[in-house]
Every structure is written in C-alpha cells, then in structure tokens.
C-alpha cells in the first residue's frame, strides 16, 4: 500500500513545477503590462478652484490726485478681480455745521492685456456716508475641462496645461481711486480745519488653479 509520502512528494513537485513555470512565463508579461497600463495613463478628474488671492491697497488721503494700485497675473487663467472698500472716513461727512461738502469718491477698475486697457463695469461713485453695496468686479469661468488622461499626476497636470494654454494671459488689473469735493458754501471760519479724507480700497485678483486626482478606487 502506498504511503502518504508516495502521494505527497510527486504532488508537491508537480505543484511547485507548475507554479515556477506559471510565474516564469507570466511575470515578465505582467511587468510589461503594468508598464503599459501606467504608460497609457488613467483618467484623472480635474477640479478647478481659485488660487490664493494677490492683493494691493490703494489708499487715498486727499482730493488733489487719484491713487492707483495694480495686481499682475502672469501667464495665468484669470478667475476674479474684486475690490473691497476697507475704510472710508471723511471729516466733512455731515457738512451742515461747517458748510463743507462730502467728498465724492470714484473707484474704477481696468484690465490691461497686451497693452490694451479695458474698463470693467461702470466706475462706482459714492460718499463715505453712503457707501456702495458693490464695487466693480470681474469674474471669469473656469476652463470647461473635467477629465484628462495621464500616467501620473505630473503628466495629468501637463495635459491640463496643454489644453488650457490658449486661455493663459498676462493680465494687469488696476484700481484707480479719486475724489472730488464741491467748494464750501460758506467762507472758511477761523479755527475750522480743512476736511480730511481717508479711503482705502483693496484690489484682489485670483487665477484658476486645479487639482488632478484619480477618482475613487473602489468599483463596488
């Protein structure tokens, strides 16, 4: 009667031989196929969001001359340029006691591309006592690209850059703040100082940035 060993030894040898053969034959092709898979690339999901805002302040302290501030976006996809009225103080605001008029403040936003300037919206004109609810602003849509193929994140990013290159610009946004004040209706009185004005406007501009990620791994 054959012993267990008489069965196990040839069975183990057969299984081991088959295992070695299968690995020797398949492993090189597996590695090659893996390289092909990673070379062909996978679908990366592109998510657009606005990058960190670049800001500059324009501080106006008199009605004599306008002040400007500029923000430049170099080789970017502009997303938004907006103005924020950070402060507005006019000592002649009430006017009645001194007869001094409130300063009329004007804020303009312009975009300059390749030397050509274009005004954005209508200039906002207001007084410190009657601050505007909105200042001129520009918003631009993100590129309509949600999927790219890539071997890895860097490759996917390069693919996105290539597809959106046409929209990339060197843009300069300029805010100009100026003020005028109507002449006083009464002669200036001794001991009454000239009215003071302080207006601060922040210009911020953002560009579109993106992340390229592989979608969720689980198909279940």
């Amino acid at each position: 009667m054959p012993s267990r060993r008489d069965y196990d030894v040839p069975a183990a040898a057969l299984a081991a031989a088959m295992g070695v053969l299968v690995i020797l034959v398949s492993a090189p092709f597996t590695v090659q196929a893996y390289l092909e898979v990673t070379d062909t690339g996978k679908d990366f999901t592109v998510a657009w969001s606005q990058g960190k805002a670049m800001t500059k302040d324009a501080a106006l302290t008199s009605t004599s001359a306008p002040v400007t501030a500029q923000v430049m976006l170099m080789d970017k996809l502009p997303a938004m340029a907006m103005l924020t009225l950070k402060g507005c103080n006019d000592s002649a605001g009430s006017g009645a006691a001194t007869g001094q008029s409130a300063a009329s403040i004007t804020v303009k936003l312009t975009r300059t591309v390749a030397g050509k300037s274009t005004p954005i919206g209508n200039p906002a004109t207001f007084t410190c006592a009657n601050k505007p609810s909105a200042l001129p602003m520009e918003t631009m849509k993100a590129p309509d690209l949600g999927t790219v193929k890539g071997k890895d994140e860097a490759d996917a990013r390069a693919a996105v850059d290539a597809k959106t290159m046409a929209g990339m610009q060197d843009v300069t946004y300029t805010v100009e703040v100026s003020a005028t004040r109507a002449a006083s209706t009464v002669p200036s009185l001794p001991g009454v100082n000239a009215p003071t004005l302080s207006v601060s406007v922040e210009l911020s501009a953002t560009a579109w940035g993106f992340t390229a990620t592989l979608p969720a791994e689980a198909s279940k």
Partner: protein
Amino acid sequence: MSSIQRGFARLGFQKNIDRLLEEAHSKAGLAKTLAAKDLIVLGVAGIIGAGIFVLIGQGIAKAGVGVIPAFVVAAAICAVAGFAYAELAAAIPASGSAYAYIYTAMGELPGWMVAWALILEYAVGAIAVAIGWRNNLLALINQFKDSDPTTDLFSNPDKPWLYWFTHSPLESVTTASGTVLHGILNVPSILIVLFCTLLLIRGTKESAKFTFVLVIIKVAILILAIIGGFLAFNASNFSDPLPHYAKPDGSQYDATGFFGAVQAVFAAAAIMFFAYIGFDSVSTTAEETREPKKDLPRGILGSLAITTILYVLAAFALSSAAHWTTFVGDSVAATNARGEPFGYVFEQNGFLQFNGFGFGALLVRIGALIGTTSVLLVLILGGVRVFFNMSRDGLLPGWMSTVSSRGSPAKTTLLYGGFTMAFAGLLTLGAAVDLVNIGTLFAFFMVILAVWIFRVRRPDIERPFTMALWAIKGRDGRPLVPFLSILGMLGVVALVFSLDKFTLLASVTWAGLGLLVYAFYGVRNSKEAHHRHVAASEEEADPFTNGRPAGTTRDE
C-alpha cells in the same frame, strides 16, 4: 500507478462530503445564529456598495438607454452563478463558499486555486473599499465647508495636516496655488477597518444586526435617488437613445444599429456586472446558518432579485432623467455627471435643493458612505471565512481556525483586519484594483463548472435545491452537455476579457505563487489527505478513492 499519476491523483483528492457534513454539525464549529432574512441582508449589504451610485453614469455613457438591458444581462450572468452557488451551498453546507464547493466537487488543487483567488479578491477588495470609504467621507465633509471657492478642505496648503493624515505616503496633490502636499497616513481608512474588525470579533450576529441597519438606510437612499430620477422624467431622452460620437482621437463611437447596440449593451453589462459582486459572500456563512439547505438559496437568490429590481429601476430613472450626451466627453459637466450621476441630475433639476445646498447630493454621498461600510464588513467577513476554512482543512496554519468564546474566529479576523488596515493606511492600489474582479469571475466560472462536475460525479448526494442545466443527459441521467452552465461560463469568460491585460496577467502570476505555497505547505499538511491515509491504512486500501464515502471503492 506511477509517481506522476499518484501526484496528479493527490492534487485531485476531493473532500469527503460526509465528513464535511459532519464537521458542519460538530460542536467545535462557529455559532449558528443566521436565518434567511439575515442572509438576504448580508447579500444586499455585499452587493449594494458605492458602485451603483457611480457606475450607472459610466454605463449610460457606453450604452445610453441600453443601460437598462445591460443590467438585465449582467443580472442573468450573475443569476446563473447564483443558482450554482445556491445548489452547492444547499448540498454542501459548510462555510468557505466556492472554495469548499470546488474542493468537494473537483478536488484539492482546484479548491486551493479558487481560495487563493478569493483571498486576493477579498484582500484587494477590502483595501480598495477602505480607501474608497475615505474618498466618500472627504467628499461628504467637503460639502459642509464654507462657500469660499478658494479653499478645498483637504488640499489646503494652510492646513496641510488635513492632507497628511487623510492620505497615504504614496499619495500627493498639487494644490490650486501650486503647493505640493504629500500624505503621511490614511487615518480614516484605518479607523473604519478597525471598527469593522472589532464588530466582527464581537460576533457574526452582532455585525449582522449592524449591517441590517446599514442596509435599510442605503436601500432607502437608493429608492430616494430612484424617485428623484423619476421626478425629472423627460420622454425626449428616449429619442436618439443610443450613443454615437466622435472620440478625441478622431475615431467614432457608434452604438446605433443592431450590432452596435448589442456591443454597447454588453460593454455596459461588463461595467454593471461589478455592481452585483458580493452575493457570493452569503455562502461563506453556511456554517453559521441555522438551516443552510433552505436558507442559503433564499439568501443568495433573494438578495440578487432585490438588487436587480432596484438597479433596473435606477437605470430607468436616470436614463429618463438625463440624455446620454450629458455623460459623454471630458468637460467639467460630463465628468461630474459620470462621477456622481444622481447628484448631478438632482442639481440640474433642483431636486432636494434648499437655499443652494444640495440635499440630494448629500443623501447620495451618505448612501455611498454607508454602502462602502457594509461592503467592507462583508469583504472582511468573507476573507476571514476563507482563511478559516483553509486552515481547518490543514492548508493554512491551524491557529487560523481557532474560535473565540463569542463563536467568532477572532485571531484570523484580527490578522486580516490588521493587514487591511496597514495596506489601506499606507498604500494605494492603482492598477491592481481590478484584481478584485478577476478573483470573483474565476470563482463564478469554477462554481458553475463544479455544479456540472458534481452532478456527474456524485448524483447520489441529496440536493435540496437544484439549478436547471438545460442539459442533454446520458443514459444514466447524468448531464453530458449542460447548455445553461456553458452559457454562464461563456458569459463569465466574456467579462474576463473585458478586463485589462495587466489584471489578467497579474492574476496568473498570483496563481503561480499560490501553487508554490500549496506545494510547500498545503500538500504536506492537508487534513483530507491525512483522513484518507488513516482510513486507507485501516482498510488496507489505496487512499485514492476520489472523495467517496469511507469504505467504498473508486469503481462503485
């Protein structure tokens, strides 16, 4: 008999079914706590994951309205496998699923190879689902962040720790402002695997109760998603129902015309098939089932039927709510529609939108999170049961089949959970993720084949449930050409070839590794071989009896 013949005979040693039945009733086994209802719940829990909320968009991009028959085609292939599982589960009521059935019907080496494939399926599946769970969680949390578009909560250079501790060291992202962030540890994935592992160590019944709650919630959310889709019903979406468009490389995709439509439906079915994977995990719990012969077929086929109805309704609702063109292309809108089809349709139609907040998308995300939690539970449970059964058969070390005082294989669960935690926390799967699918497809193929072979080899075994084979039978009534089995196997093969080349080749290499482990450990330690030699030495007979009851001969 030459030594080579003895070697092949040894590789084909079948598990003695009488001993298997005896083991299933032995006191040392797992606690018998599960009824048919629990098994249906486990099946639905394993089947409905996050996939249905995503894959359906990809299916519509392939087949348009043809996604509806695609679900039926995928369900039909799964049903053949489901019937086969049900027949074998009822006839061979021991846990171990496909492994135990194929060991019994076809022999030790085929059984080992299926178990080896299932180990990869369950392990890769658990890691992938744990990582997917993290992605769903981050998407859910991101929906609550403030409306400032300049901040993405988990890729924010001002709070890099949020990225560090939610991503593995192999993951990195270049943020919108150009900063590169690298992950350190995927903590969310580790925590969810830890939670599932501890729940399973507490006992199968406890985890089944928890799973029941999850299933109710995710089915409710799926039904809500279906209702949302039907509310956006637009009959015009059924005009020009099949996709046809120019690809970026200049070639044409055309699903119109009979052959184009059939091809598109099968291409979509290959995608939709993976939304059904999981029903087979029910049969891994046979030993914990009170009446396995009745309850296992009910559990397998019941869960498959429930999910097929839900999936077909979901496909109908979504393809009637949005035209296929919505899902095609590389635009932001098309990508969103494919990535989150229900959420996208809800957003477009204002379903469950209040004050600009998308409650519809939120519900779908909660559904996906719950779906992945229950799938993770089922995957860890299934993987542990395969290890448990292989160990009990001597093919893996014995400590893996020890049972805790609560009736669960605590040590193996801890090992399996720890392995999953380590990999999910530190790695990504990349191209290896499709190995989940090849393991399942191999098991399906072998189970369908095993039914046929087992009918031929052991027609005497009591079968409380039998699948129709549509077979040409021999004079002795044994099936010679079972058309349904052959159709089912061809369907599985067609799906196998829809997978990429790397997945196919990597699974072959994995099989080679399995053969080596079997050769150097399994062969020597197999308890089946031991039992046969003991029985043979008592009767002074050859141990090569092909799994027939002790005392019978090969030619009986």
